[in-house]
């Protein structure tokens, strides 16, 4: 099987996506959006999914979090988060997983913040929805000790006696709110929002795009997720604001042990943040390698074409090389390798047979008939 070489050490794997196939039903026909996507996100790493619009990178992420639109149907495949198959998890359980184990941040923060609630109300909710974690996180954070003391004081006043873990379930509403607020200020400070106390009282429209995106990241952090999915989170931002967010993500990556799945069309962002990266084209992963290896030694004709097509300011180019044509219509995807109509090296076999991802060394896999069966 395609991913066999990839999934060698399952102990290291946090998320395994296996042979994911997905269609969209549209009036025009079935859009074969994902055609056997296989990859593994290891514990603690930042994994990038890169490709042009329509290649299926965002759909992959939405499938993982179980937020697909109604006209999408998963045809085949498996998504394992630890021991759980997310595709077989009932919706109510998925909700819990999204609340505790996977957090996703999207390109446009405005759409995902509630315009009629303050940032504080939305952020505190994350803590209030889970009293266990509220107490646990509160205990972990030194800054919140004060608030915890207040809870204890209140317990004493009311004369309640209980086990430390049980007790948290019964603490008063106002005390809970206090801890939640203290924790919210903590996370907002962690995402470098100046004057976080004031931000809590503000509504989303009062904040700039960069600040809103920081709030979204704060909400994700507040959940302490195993997997953090970032879908084009810097695309809508200006260069200087993008630099702030990238810097923040780099810092957080060092601090947190969780894994990151970064989805972007920007090879620059990938080079700065990711450990490993998969290049997607028309619903397939065409190449997967460590970031250094991919940039030093791109093998798939599409990856090579993509790299030559972007203007880069660290080297001189008289002329950009182009990939002829445009992305195929996935209602009628090309037979065999989906890249073959645009590929300068295509030969007969490419039209007939879909290439599998094969190992070419050093954790570098590529799906291309040019490499395979000792031809490399």
């Amino acid at each position: 099987m395609a991913g066999a070489a990839e999934v060698t050490d399952t102990r290291e794997a946090l998320l395994q996506v296996k042979d994911l196939r997905l269609n969209f039903h549209t009036y025009a026909g079935e859009v074969k959006a994902l055609d056997g996507v296989t990859f593994v996100v290891k514990k603690g790493e930042a994994f990038g999914l890169v490709g042009e619009s329509g290649c299926g990178k965002s759909v992959t992420a939405l499938t993982i979090v179980g937020l697909l639109p109604e006209n999408a149907s998963v045809v085949d495949g498996e998504i394992m988060l630890g021991a759980d198959n997310l595709l077989k998890t009932p919706p109510e359980e998925m909700r819990k997983i999204r609340a505790n184990r996977i957090a996703m941040v999207f390109q446009d923060p405005t759409t995902f913040l509630n315009p009629v609630l303050t940032i504080g109300e939305q952020l505190e909710e994350v803590f209030l929805l889970n009293p266990d974690r509220l107490a646990r996180v509160a205990a972990e954070r030194k800054a919140s000790e004060e608030a915890l003391m207040e809870i204890k004081a209140e317990d004493e006043k009311t004369g309640t006696e209980r086990e430390p873990t049980e007790s948290t379930r019964k603490i008063s509403k106002s005390a809970k709110k206090k801890v939640a607020k203290a924790l919210s200020i903590d996370v907002l400070t962690e995402v470098r929002l100046p004057d976080s106390e004031r931000t809590l009282k503000q509504y989303p429209h009062e904040l700039s795009g960069g600040m809103r995106q920081r709030c979204m990241i704060a909400m994700a952090l507040a959940r302490n997720p195993d997997l953090f999915i970032a879908d084009e989170i810097t695309t809508a931002l200006d260069v200087t604001i993008q630099a702030q967010i990238l810097e923040l993500l780099r810092e957080l990556k060092k601090k947190l042990l969780g894994s990151t799945l970064l989805i972007t069309h920007d090879l620059g962002v990938v080079a700065e943040l990711c450990d490993r990266v998969a290049v997607m084209y028309a619903g397939n992963i065409v190449e997967l390698a460590t970031v250094k290896e991919l940039f030093a030694n791109p093998l798939h004709p599409y990856t090579q074409g993509l790299m030559r097509a972007i203007p880069m300011i660290d080297r001189r180019m008289e002329r950009l090389e182009t990939i002829p044509g445009s992305v195929p219509d996935l209602i009628y995807p090309p037979t065999g390798c989906r890249f073959h109509p645009r590929c300068p090296f295509a030969f007969e076999r490419c039209k007939l047979e879909k290439p599998e991802l094969i190992h070419v060394g050093k954790g570098h896999t590529v799906a291309c008939h040019l490499f395979g069966e000792g031809k490399a």
Binding site: G268, F295, I313, T322
Partner: protein, 338 residues
């Protein structure tokens, strides 16, 4: 010696903010506040800045799609700021334009033939309808499409193809200057490369002068000869491309270039991360408009606005201090092979 085609002097465009039942003017959005530019024959001048810096407004003022509040625009020695009627129309045909969104810039109910022949008829650059169609056929081939496409409607084309049509339309009146306002930011990278190459080819073929407006620093670097960096309605620095990108002297340019993610994991560099957000163009900071985010700002910066002066011939900087900034990106010529 190359001639100056277009000169812009102290251009200003303030949009009024009205309010109350009387609709009184309460304030001004100073979209363009102080812009001086000189564009030379046959060159590409890149105008780069973040959103809200006023770069698009500059382009629209030049085309007189909006009337500037103050300032002068001089085309080949002739002041075109206040031209009207037939006199303006004669000058206007020398300017083409390509807009950012190819889905909005083409009339969905007009065939491509209509889109290409209408400007020729309006500007009376052709004798007859047949001649106009002939020219449209010629242009559509120049931009990499074919004659059949003339009889189709915009919805039948992809984003990249639409942008080719927009480029063809910009060429219909035989212009000298083309204003390219973010022409590739709606397109995917593989298609973007096709359009950028097309623009380079056409420039050589027709000896065109480009004003290339974009927020994308890499695209500007690739396309331009000279670059102007805008911040909050003013030019902060303008120079030859290599000076702006390798040896900038304005701290904003320096931060901007160092902030750009470069697709090269081997590249180690010192990044300058500017704090905070761009201030609102309604309340531009006193003195130097960049001082609120500038890591080197002093009290003096709040008092006096630094003029845009030439430090060397052709290198204009608007900063009180000579900061001796380091190179924002290390130059690697060898370590890449792609």
């Amino acid at each position: 010696m190359t001639q100056t085609v277009l000169e812009i002097k102290r251009l200003k465009k303030w949009f009024p903010i009205t309010g109350g039942i009387l609709g009184r003017v309460k304030g001004w959005v100073k979209a363009v506040d102080r812009v001086d530019l000189e564009i030379k024959e046959g060159e590409t001048f890149g105008l780069v800045g973040e959103s809200g810096s006023g770069k698009t407004t500059v382009g629209r003022c030049i085309l007189r799609l909006i009337e500037p509040t103050a300032g002068q625009m001089i085309y080949r020695g002739q002041d075109i700021t206040k031209l009207k009627g037939e006199a303006f129309r004669r000058v206007r045909r020398k300017f083409g334009v390509v807009f950012q969104d190819p889905y909005a810039s083409l009339d969905p109910r007009q065939t491509i033939k209509g889109a290409l022949t209408e400007p020729m008829k309006y500007h009376k650059t052709i004798g007859s309808d047949e001649e106009a169609v002939e020219r449209a056929k010629d242009l559509i081939k120049r931009v990499g499409l074919n004659e059949d496409h003339l009889y189709r409607f915009p919805h039948e084309f992809s984003g990249g193809q639409r942008q080719r049509i927009a480029v063809a339309r910009a060429l219909t009146t035989d212009p000298e200057v083309i204003i390219l306002d973010e022409p590739t930011s709606f397109l995917d990278v593989s298609v973007q490369a096709q359009i950028l190459n097309l623009l380079s080819d056409l420039q050589k073929e027709f000896n065109l002068t480009y004003l290339f407006i974009s927020h994308n620093l890499s695209v500007i670097e690739h396309m331009s000869n000279r670059v102007g960096v805008m911040y909050l309605g003013a030019i902060m620095e303008a120079a030859e491309k290599d000076i702006v990108y390798r040896r900038p002297e304005h701290p904003y340019t320096h931060a901007l270039i160092s902030a750009l993610p470069i697709p090269n994991p081997e590249l180690v560099r010192q990044r300058v991360v500017l704090a905070g957000d761009v201030p609102s163009p309604v309340n531009i900071p006193s003195g130097c408009r960049f001082r609120t985010r500038c890591p080197y700002a002093t009290e003096f910066c709040a008092e006096k606005e630094p003029p845009l002066i030439a430090r060397q011939p052709g290198h204009l900087v608007s900063c009180h201090y000579d900061l001796k900034l380091s190179a924002p990106i290390p130059i690697l010529e060898t370590s890449r092979k792609t």
